[in-house]
Amino acid sequence: MKLRRRQRERLSLGIQYLIFIAVIAVVAFAADWGRLADAFFRVDIITSMFPTIITVALRNTVLYTLGAFAFGLVFGTILALMRLSRVAPYRWVATAYIELFRGLPALLVLFLVGYGIPIAFPEREIPGGVFGSIAIGLGLTAAAYMAETIRAGIQAVPKGQMEAARTLGMSHFTAMRTIVIPQAFRIVIPPLTNELILLTKDSSLAYVLGVTAQTIEITKFGRDMLNDRVNATPLLVAGLAYLVITLPLSQVVRRLELRYAKAR
């Protein structure tokens, strides 16, 4: 029997829905929900995690992330400008730094900052204590990634922008600061958002510096509770806590991009 075109389309669509429903049904009926809920969703454990997971752990995660992002953004911009510099040694240093720190695991860098710097400079302290160490430790790696992103953003601004600014009598520096870099940042908002979300999760590495009850962040908090209660529920809650940060962040950035869309 030969089907007509619309019949074929309807059949194809129907099969696709059927597969979708079948997969969900298999998962729903085959899984042992009772034991799963027991291991991952104990309401009494969830309630015992509040409010500390918000007031301390989530707050610290956000603070570490923002600290590392701010440090990485400033340092990354400097590295990007160095890579584009006319002074050859600046270019060499920036390139070497970027290649090195993109290749090293963030955990290792954090460890070196947390324990290496205090050994190298015994009478000086990293400002901000644990917060400062994490901001710098994670920021050093983030800066290497952001430098490449920002450099690409600067180079994506048409050459005519710099020329127009210069013909109006602006110095190279003023033209960079008021014309080129503001446009470059609009271009790199999406990749920088990516970096911010990655940093949010990298902040879970803070445990290597030995955090206390006051400086604990989401993952460490979840793992401590896991060991304490011998139940995986805290990990699920910790995971959701990360989404509480990253999902609104994506929304904010989407708004920001829309607002800049007409000024591009």
Binding site: P158, G160, Q161, E163, A164, A165, R166, T167, L168, G169, M170, S171, T174, T178, I179, P182, Q183, R186, Y260, K262, A263, R264
Partner: protein
Amino acid sequence: MTTTPSRPAVEIRDLHKSFGPLEVLKGIDFEVGQGEVVCVIGPSGSGKSTLLRCVDLLEQPTAGTIWVNGVEMTDPDVEIDQVRRGIGMVFQSFNLFPHLTVLNNLTIAQRRVLRRGRAEAERIARANLERVGLTDKADAFPAQLSGGQQQRAAIARSLSMEPKLMLFDEPTSALDPELVGDVLTVMRKLAEDGMTMMVVTHEMAFARDVADRVVFMDGGVVVEQGPPQEVLGAPKHERTRAFLSRVLDPTHVAQLGQPDQAPEPPQAPSLPADDRHQL
């Protein structure tokens, strides 16, 4: 910075410019008098845009000397940012700052370079927007304007710095034909107000009507120059004739075959009124 009024606005002596092995300008001698409007015409690749960009030092000459309002631009120690305040530049691709409103496009250099206060800068900006007929577009972003409006805004941006000399690099070449007229009207008005202008253009009607002098360039040299009715109406050189016949009567070029056998030089009155032909 001293300006000597008796000296020409632009003086160029034996200018050479090479890009790698390619020599684009092969010894240019050239002047623009104070208050003079000079149109530079010629086929693409003739070096006319490079010449214009050398005047503002957007291209560094390989050899030769350039003075602008008595200041030697080719002096390695020239205070380039200071000299450029007195020179306005209009680009083929407008180059408005897309992240700023039209008004801020006009005020940013006034504030950052001339250190004018916000109120004064905005007053001057609005006066110049009125000059180019864009009073109602002050708060728009460049992307919301048509090409012609963008180019007029770019002209107003240059004028806000109160330059003594305006350079135009094919200002209408990127525009849709029906938008060319508005920009040319603004430029004509500027010329009538006594502005010193150097215009690289393919708009032969504009050159004929507005220019005090037309310069024809080809192959990196000035082939001939003079009043528009002479250069455009009765060109002395074969190359000028060939170029004009190609520009003014593009559909018949194929039949000519060899440009050297160009027929009668086109007469000024025979120029079509609407000659936006481009190469």
